[in-house]
Amino acid sequence: MRLSVKSFLCSLCLGTLAVARLSEEFNEELHLRPLPDGKLAARFSFSTLLKGATPRHPETLGVEDESQLYTLFPLALGQILREYAVTELHLTLNAGNWNYDRWGYPDEPGVGTGAELWAWMGEGGTVTVDSRWRGLRNALAGLFCASLGSLDEQRTTSPVLTFQPEGSLPNGNASYQLRHATLPSEHVCTENLTPFLKLLPCKSLSGIASLLNPHKLFDADWHGLGVHVRYLESAGVEVRLAFQAVFDPVRAASDKRRDWSLSAVFDRRIERVCPVARSSVIRVRLPQNEVYAIIPSPSTMDKTYATYIVQEVGKPLDVAIIRPEETLFEYLIEPQTHISVHRTLNGASQHAGQLALTITNNHDIQLQTGYLETMPWLLQFYLHTLHAHIDGMPRDDLVKLISYIPPLPHVQPALLQAVLTLPPKTTLWLTMDVVKPFLAYTEHPPDAQRGWDLPPAVFVPFASQNGSETDSDPQLHAVLSDVRSTRMYTPVLLVDLATPDFSMPYNVIIMSCTLIALIFGMVFNLLTRQFVVVRVGEQSS
């Protein structure tokens, strides 16, 4: 007995020592909110903080790295971050189009269809940023079973204005570079979710993560997963794994009502807590101006949110919201964001076309928005044909601060950035002529006739630069402070490029061989044949 007490004390003191050295912290959260069109948005966020750690400095890449001893931090991801000295990393894999008009702004801003990867990396040392970027792509492709390896130089840009670091960059005087690439044709499915779940300390076996049931998640109207690594100067390195989905309780319910519960949405309940989670919270946004009941009773509750501390409430936990008075849900369609964007590619020919955007300001006040296109060289802009119209009237003065890096065929994509001014309650038409290039025979992907997916354009609504105007008008001020400097992604486009007949090389071989053989035969005949004059007439007469 005495011995065990002693050893317990000993382990306790050693334990505190270990905690003091480098502690790690894991927090999990589930945010559920009803969307205006009756859908249910769920956002899982699992963040692991490695306290006191700093990203690896690129100049130390040549020398022996320190041992990587992790408790909660995912080792597989930590190895990649250190191997390529990545300071900040964002990877999102999404399926479906986020419908801003119906659903408003998402909880996680990165909702572009397909795969999007961007990273901030320090410069210096013997290994260049580009070769580390290549290694990072390939390592993440292997880790998440995604074809991120195709995010090559032909898709990589550096739009620093739109993709500012979300954390801090160590050593303020060191220079950092951004690499950004999107792959809209990436399909997200269970082979990406499985490695994602393996990075969580409790996998999908306990705690909030146990709700991540692939059968239900991939049945959702929209779903996407994200990995976000950032460095926080005061705290350390943070890895946040996020999963976001939009469920349709109306579609699932037989009586077409919006009532939902965890067991109905995820087909699972929370049976056990994750033993290493410091906090494990479910926040439910409550319906406003409606009659509803929420069960079981939450840990804390205010007007807008009901909060469940998973460790404290009884298990199994099955949160549900019931609207007893609602019989049949009526859809309500009204734009939910400050601006609405539609982007189309017009023109039927395989040579030229026109890129058209309609941007609608849904507010009574003037707004500004940043506009970013990172276009692979599969579509080449005629920048001089970029024109803005409002109700058929040319308004080119509304497009300002255009910066453009032209594409290099087979090498690098185009980068177009501009600032658009949107007058109140109007729709701005933006058109630009484009040309579609010819691709080399080997550059076509399998199933070439399907066409190529083009990455989404990104819009960033922001406050007007004219500060005095904003201050003078309280309504304007309120709206603009509400305009989060969040990125809005347009849906992806599909471009139809001229595709060759893929049996062409053999046809060419056969054809040219036939021609050569014919010419050869003619010349050969002329050279070797003997010509004689046959006097037919003389003989007969």
């Binding site: 990587q68 992790y70 080792l75 190895q79 409790c202 061989c513 050869f520 004689v532 046959v534």
Partner: protein
């Protein structure tokens, strides 16, 4: 219809026509080498004779043993003679490439020293010195006993069973050591949430890694997992009052659940050695290893050959331990240390020999030297094998391209191998460095991706492309050739019969 000849056209003579046809064949004949060169694959000549000349060559390590018999009454010269005789008769030395030279000269730093003393205690090793005590009544067999001790110390691998030899990992200059604290199910109670791995590593493993730094570099990583389910259900055992759970030898082979345990390492190609401390869930606790008769054994750890080691940790009391530290963790890491040295092939001291300072590293100079010699010999042999495989493969597959880089690698490997042979007598560690370089360069040549290129574009393919051109061009050429030959024969016959007008020997144009 009578054709009227037109001798005015000079080029329509038989000679001109034949020259034209001949020139076509001449062009084809001259173009053949060019065509051959442009369509053939690059096959550099490999130094085949040098590769085969290296076959069977072994590293030779001369070993100096200084015999100190000052404390003994036996005559130095006689005992040196006798030990020499026994050593020469012992085949094990020669098998391992050792040429042992016994003398009574004073030992230098790199020599092995044997001190003979009267007494009855077991031999004691200290550095490169071994003190052998011989009871006065056994003085007659002292030399034999000495030679035996030397044999077990210098060539410890000959007595190794094959099962032990197979678990040793193949040589690599760098290993990743991945330590995992694996809870079967932390949410069900009975778990350790973290471990004080830093201190345990420093206390238990660092000295050994330091000692082995001559051979390998190590990258260390560790993680903790909270859900590591088993892929099978351990069998329940009734032991006294309580239920225990047992792992049969069959279970041990499928113990690692690679689908659920995230153990793999993705960023480097260095081989990984896994060390897993497994804490069974409260449902399977305590978990014991049972023998083939189903009886629990005292052992709680096992080695998976070439993969790593696993220890099953049944805590004293069930429940959640915030941090695993102190004595239980030290025990775990002491086991990991033994498993690591077994996996790396560190020989054990013979049971009757003791080390003076056991230390934590626990590896004496004799053991380390034997390991270095063995790894050097192993690498040299495997480099030779790889080189021969390349040569055989290239000879066997005629379509395989052999680029400049493959040739360069093969030459580099041979050069490194030669250096290994020449440095072995002076320094076994340098020989190891060169042998390991030879091995890595040779395997790089073997796995050169350029050697696969033509497997996807076979010769048949080439013929398929050229046939449409060649077939249609060859047909008229051959036809005209046959026609000319026939005409020429006819002409000769006609000449033999007598002079005749030779205007139109050929069939007339119609």
């Amino acid at each position: 219809m009578d054709a009227v000849s037109k001798p005015a056209l000079a080029f329509e003579s038989a000679f001109t026509r034949r020259s034209i046809i001949a020139s076509y064949f001449l062009v084809i004949f001259l173009a053949l080498p060019l065509w051959w060169k442009t369509t053939s694959i690059e096959r550099q000549a490999l130094p085949v004779s040098r590769v085969y000349a290296a076959t069977g060559r072994e590293l030779a390590f001369p070993i100096h043993v200084a015999l100190d018999t000052r404390n003994c009454e036996v005559g130095t010269d006689t005992i040196v003679q006798e030990v020499r005789h026994h050593v020469e008769n012992n085949g094990e030395f020669k098998q391992n490439g050792l040429s042992v030279e016994v003398s009574s000269a004073t030992a230098t730093a790199n020599d092995y020293q044997v001190v003979l003393r009267p007494g009855t205690r077991d031999p004691i090793v200290d550095g490169r010195k071994v003190t052998v005590e011989v009871a006065p009544e056994h003085a007659g067999v002292a030399a034999l006993q000495l030679a035996d001790t030397l044999a077990t110390l210098l060539t410890p691998y000959t007595s190794l069973r094959s099962s032990q030899a197979e678990r040793v990992v193949t040589y690599s200059p760098r290993y990743r050591l991945a330590f995992t604290l694996l809870n079967e199910d932390a949410a069900a109670g009975n778990a350790a949430l973290s471990w004080d791995v830093q201190n345990a590593l420093a206390a238990q493993l660092s000295p050994l890694l330091e000692r082995l730094s001559v051979l390998h570099n190590f990258t260390i990583e560790s993680q903790v997992q909270y859900h590591g389910p088993l892929a099978f259900e351990p069998r329940a055992l009734q032991v006294g009052e309580q239920i225990e759970h047992g792992l049969t030898p069959g279970d041990l082979t499928v113990f690692v659940n690679s689908a659920e345990w995230t153990l793999s390492s993705s960023v480097s190609n260095d081989p990984v050695l896994h060390f897993v401390a497994f804490i069974p869930s409260s449902k399977h606790s305590p978990l014991r290893i049972v023998d083939s008769n189903g009886l629990p054994t005292s052992s709680n750890a096992f080695i998976l050959p070439q993969w790593g080691g696993i220890i099953i940790h049944n805590p004293q009391s069930t429940g959640i331990v915030p941090t695993l530290a102190g004595r239980p963790l030290d025990t775990i890491f002491a086991t990991f240390r033994q498993q690591l040295s077994a996996l790396l092939g560190v020989p054990e001291l013979p049971p009757h020999v003791h080390a003076r300072t056991r230390g934590v590293a626990g590896v004496t100079d004799w053991q380390l030297d034997a390991l270095v010699r063995r790894r050097a010999a192993e690498n040299a042999a495997s480099a030779q094998d790889t080189l021969q495989s390349i040569v055989r493969l290239v000879a066997q597959i005629e379509d395989m391209p052999v680029g400049e880089d493959v040739k360069g690698d093969v030459q580099d490997a041979l050069a490194a191998l030669d250096q290994a042979y020449s440095t072995a007598p002076s320094s076994s560690t340098e020989a190891l460095t060169f042998a390991s370089k030879a091995q890595s360069v040779a395997s790089r040549a073997f796995f050169n991706p350029g050697m696969l290129a033509l497997l996807y574009f076979p010769t048949e393919h080439k013929w398929a492309v050229y046939a449409p051109l060649f077939a249609s061009v060859t047909a008229p050429l051959l036809a005209s050739l046959i026609r000319e030959v026939l005409a020429w024969k006819k002409e000769r016959k006609a000449k033999a019969r007598g002079p005749q007008p030779v205007d139109s020997q050929r069939p007339k144009a119609e």
